[in-house]
């Protein structure tokens, strides 16, 4: 409270030291907005939106930071769906505040706001990916809109994450954004892998999963999880092709189909082997390599990984017919 009073006193001194009229009114508005921020953020926002449009106060960093603060308070009371826009408003306010040479206190507050919005953006991106109810409903959605929804959903998650990343990289250059980037893209890949697994005709989901894992591998080429997941996407793509074959598939076609299967199998092997090289105790890699070499009809290697898997307690016998 003491510091608020100091701030109010500072504002009042400034107002008294200046000419009256419109400028005085704008400064008073600033003070008024500051006092009602917490209790009535919506009203504070309206006042400050007006203040930052006024010629005399739009070049004051305090106007913009206070506006950012008002949006921050509003963010805490508004419903979730509108928060992205509110966060954008905070960000714009902080950027503008920096343009008008803020003093150290305002700078400090700008950084507090930046930390807040960057984290909110990150959490929003990750919360979407953690929403298993939404995930299941998307997996079950066979409507014509499903692909469009999927793209929009993907775009939203990416947009939120990229905003987080951009703020971190610009304003917190000493922070390591890489670990969040890896974490986010791994989760993004898993999300779309899940959708692809539930509906293997959903090529869009498969493609989005691959692009997410490739992003992980771009950052960390030896990432075990992403290498294995990429490999499994290719393997499952091959398995899906076989699953779709029916009793009427002619012998001639089987040869052509196998060309494609071998290609996919080798792509799969390339990724999973790399994952395995970096973690030879990884059960998922061992299991995947057993399946991949079996798909490639390389039974020596398949048996090698089968023995290894059995030694490590994996159950690798598959007897389920195609559904």
């Amino acid at each position: 409270m003491k510091r608020i009073n100091q701030y109010l006193i500072g504002l009042l001194i400034l107002i008294l030291g200046l000419d009256g009229g419109a400028l005085h009114a704008q400064k008073s508005a600033l003070v008024r907005a500051n006092t009602i921020l917490a209790e009535n953020p919506l009203k504070a926002v309206k006042i400050l939106d007006s203040v930052v449009r006024h010629a005399e106060t739009k070049t004051l960093s305090v106007s913009w930071t206070l506006r950012g603060r008002a949006y921050y308070e509003l963010c805490r009371v508004q419903n979730y769906s509108t928060k992205a826009e509110l966060l954008d408003s905070i960000f714009i306010s902080v950027q503008r505040s920096f343009n008008y040479l803020p003093d150290s206190n305002i700078t400090k507050d700008n950084y507090i706001l930046l930390r807040y919005i960057s984290k909110r953006f990150y959490n929003m991106a990750s919360l979407q990916l953690k929403d298993t109810t939404l995930m299941k409903s998307m997996a079950a959605d066979k409507s014509n809109n499903a692909a469009a929804l999927l793209k929009r959903y993907h775009a939203n998650a990416l947009t939120n994450f990229n905003k987080f990343k951009s703020i971190y990289e610009t304003y917190f250059p000493n922070m390591d954004v890489r670990k969040y980037e890896l974490e986010f893209y791994e989760a993004l890949g898993s999300y779309f892998s899940y959708l692809f697994e539930k509906d293997n005709s959903n090529a869009e989901a498969g493609s989005l999963a691959k692009s997410a894992y490739l992003k992980v591998l771009q950052i960390d080429p030896n990432n075990v999880f992403a290498n294995i997941q990429m490999g499994l996407l290719y393997y499952n793509q091959a398995a899906n092709i076989i699953q779709k074959l029916n009793e009427d598939t002619p012998l001639e076609e089987l040869d052509l189909v196998q060309d494609n299967l071998v290609k996919l199998g080798k792509q799969s092997e390339q990724f999973v082997s790399k994952g395995y090289q970096n973690d030879q105790n990884n059960l998922k890699a061992i299991e995947a390599l057993f399946y991949i070499y079996r798909l490639l009809n390389d039974f020596n290697k398949s048996n090698e990984f089968k023995s290894l898997g059995l030694q490590k307690g994996l159950k690798l016998e598959e007897t389920q017919p195609q559904k």
Partner: protein, 184 residues
Amino acid sequence: MFGFNPHVNFRIRLVLIGVLGSIAMSYRPPDFDPNAKLKALFIMNFTRYFEWPEAKKTGDFVIYLIGQNASLTNELKALAQKKKVGAQNIIVVNHTKMEKNQLAHMIYFTNELELQPISDAASKLRNKGVLLISEKPEACRSGSCVNFIYLENKLKFEYSYSNALKTGLKTNDDFKTLAATVIN
């Protein structure tokens, strides 16, 4: 300039949710054997390229699978429910050993069996109209009609035209062109 500090209680309590990786779903390979499915499709396709003796054109079309291969047996059974050979329903039977008086139209010998049971079957079933299928090197030289092989990671087959004739089957020349190797 203002000594601006909006609120002392203006603290960001938000913590990055973090460890998103922990929600990474376990993406597993499908729970079926792709090789078994392919092999079953090959076997079902073989029915199109041979003509069985008149006596075997009635009743069920029987495929015997000798040895152990649960995945293949299941895949064959699944396909048999959807397919017929002419008007004949397809029945898939699995035995661990060769039985006497086989009335089968096709007998598939799994790869863990030695060559001897194949050559025994070839001599016993001469002119009985039974297509012998195997998955063993040199099996065509032991009497098998069709033998699965692997070339460049692909499932293919070698075909013994003469063994097929010996079992009393009428053959289709197109089949030769589909085989990786034709053995006479």
